[in-house]
Symmetry: C2
Subunit: 328 residues, 2 copies
């Protein structure tokens, strides 16, 4: 057992850089290595003074890393990487394809058990902290109703989808919650609201010179799954404006629960996040989960977990007696 | 192992009545008995159709109750009842004398271990859900700052203190959070705020005819610990107005955390409660904790716990796979 928890980072995109930046706030952890699929690995320049290695050499690091944080994407990286690395490392990831979580949990659980390791999957803020809030709220008031609103914030998937259109230089998409819908919920109404009714979408697009903006706008608004079911606004701005005013990966949202008890007494619970940097905040959550994963492993637990399974105190650097004294 | 979790209620004040009212929302639980110190116990009339027994006969119920919810007060009841009953029942309580929690935890832990039982202490919303929020927020962003605001809501302790003054027929005290202080925190400031700076106190008092109102007001405002450190407003109203307009035990509050990551990115987390009935909401939390206590006991765990120690999924009637599918 090492003095500090040795963290490995697999994938050096926004999330990986967030882990690198935020680990310094956790004196019980140290960054041990960064893994990349770039070839040669040495061509990846990182800020921290730690080894950079190719992902394929990760198995050689099995005994030098306590928890590997998987910073790849849910669409293309994690479905394979999750089970693969769970067999040789304790891992934490932010797998967020909601519909596929049960299947992913099963695959990672089997791999982690076979390898004698522990994994925490689908950590972050949604899934993650927002999931926890939904669970606590519904456990406490089982006949209440829970609403999740996302935004105002940047959806990276939707931004990518717009960037992929012909004639688009760059673009960013904000998901905007409907404040009047949130207001109705806070007032104790329990409307049946679809995701579409709770949110609108706003795109800022920098188009190529001479591009057919009417066509781009139409293609965005008609894009199935991403935009066609939403009220979408498209605004064309210059590339300079886009880079200057829309460079931050802000996000956030609200989980709101309303319930009644006794003779019609109303109860409102609400959790909200306003994040300047979605990847840095998500990285912070993953680090707390890495601590918990390490402690669960030390206790002898094996297999895959979600934040639902983690005793909250295991996330905190402070131990039981300090948290009881200062936070309870 | 019984089909449903058999709940006992010890103490039939506001909180005990809340448990009786809210247990029906939890089909996996049933009310088994209510214990009272009234003599004879049968003189206590309750709504539910279950036995009422004297507290001293509780030991005879050891095998007929899965979890006993202690609904007594923190000042006079729980310090003795907690350890006493933890030796013979799985228990849940809402012990909320913050400064004495570590000592209480130790006493209950020893008793529960000696008796081979499990206890969840200091559950509710503060301590309880608010504590959990402070813990999650600080675990995720360890260098941020957390603020707790209470109210607007009725402080039963402060109301009692005013009622005890000569010439007072009845009274109610509202704790009011300073919205401008909360606003500063939400704006990312990290002011050093005392409890006094975050809250004011508002008393509605019905005085006896001919009572010296100036003296009553002075005695309230100068009352050490309760009021002398606060900006306190005293308003005299008729007994009819008091009973008509101020009959509800409303409460609530906010836990707000601000932090920075990376190159000055700001993050705001906030949890808020607005409760029409403090005791009924608290009872709801205690019931979820009773479910967790029962499950921990079935798993073979023994001793005292707080909500910090409880894997969130254990609070929910739904199991792991259902919560993963519907809430994660």
């Amino acid at each position: 057992m090492s003095q500090t928890i040795r963290i490995g980072v697999c994938g050096y995109g926004n999330l990986g850089r967030g882990v690198e930046a935020e680990i310094v706030k956790n004196p019980d952890m140290e960054l041990a290595a960064v893994f990349t699929r770039r070839k040669p690995a040495g061509s990846l320049k990182i800020k921290a003074d730690v080894p950079v290695a190719h992902t394929s050499s990760a198995p050689e690091w099995k005994d030098k890393i306590d928890v590997l944080i998987l910073c790849g994407g849910s669409a293309n990286d994690l479905p394979a990487q999750g089970p693969e690395f769970a067999g040789m490392f304790n891992t934490v990831d932010s797998f967020d394809t909601h519909a596929k979580i049960p299947e992913y949990l099963k695959a990672v659980d089997e791999a982690a058990k076979a390898g004698g390791r522990i994994s925490v999957i689908s950590a972050g803020w949604d899934p993650g902290l927002f999931s926890l809030m939904r669970l606590y709220m519904e456990a406490v008031n089982p006949d209440g109703k829970t609403y999740t609103f996302w935004g105002r914030g940047v959806s990276q998937g939707h931004s990518e989808a717009v960037r992929g259109l012909d004639g688009v230089l760059d673009a960013i998409q904000y998901t905007i919650p409907d404040e009047s819908a949130a207001g109705r919920v806070r007032n104790g109404e329990t409307p049946g609201l679809t995701v579409r009714e709770k949110h609108t979408r706003l795109c800022y697009v920098a188009a190529e010179e001479g591009a057919d903006k009417a066509r781009i706008e139409r293609e965005i608004k008609e894009m199935p799954y991403y935009f066609s079911d939403y009220d979408t606004t498209v605004t064309f701005i210059s590339l300079e404006e886009l880079r200057r005013d829309h460079g931050k990966l802000t996000h956030g949202g609200n989980v709101i629960h309303t319930a009644k008890t006794g003779a019609g007494n109303r109860h409102l619970m609400e959790f909200s996040l306003k994040l300047d940097s979605n990847p840095e905040f998500t990285a912070s959550v993953l680090l707390a989960c890495a601590r918990a994963a390490y402690r669960l492993f030390e206790k002898g637990e094996r297999g895959a977990r979600t934040m639902f399974d983690i005793p909250p105190v295991l996330l905190s650097r402070a131990g039981v007696s300090e948290t009881v004294q200062t936070l309870l």
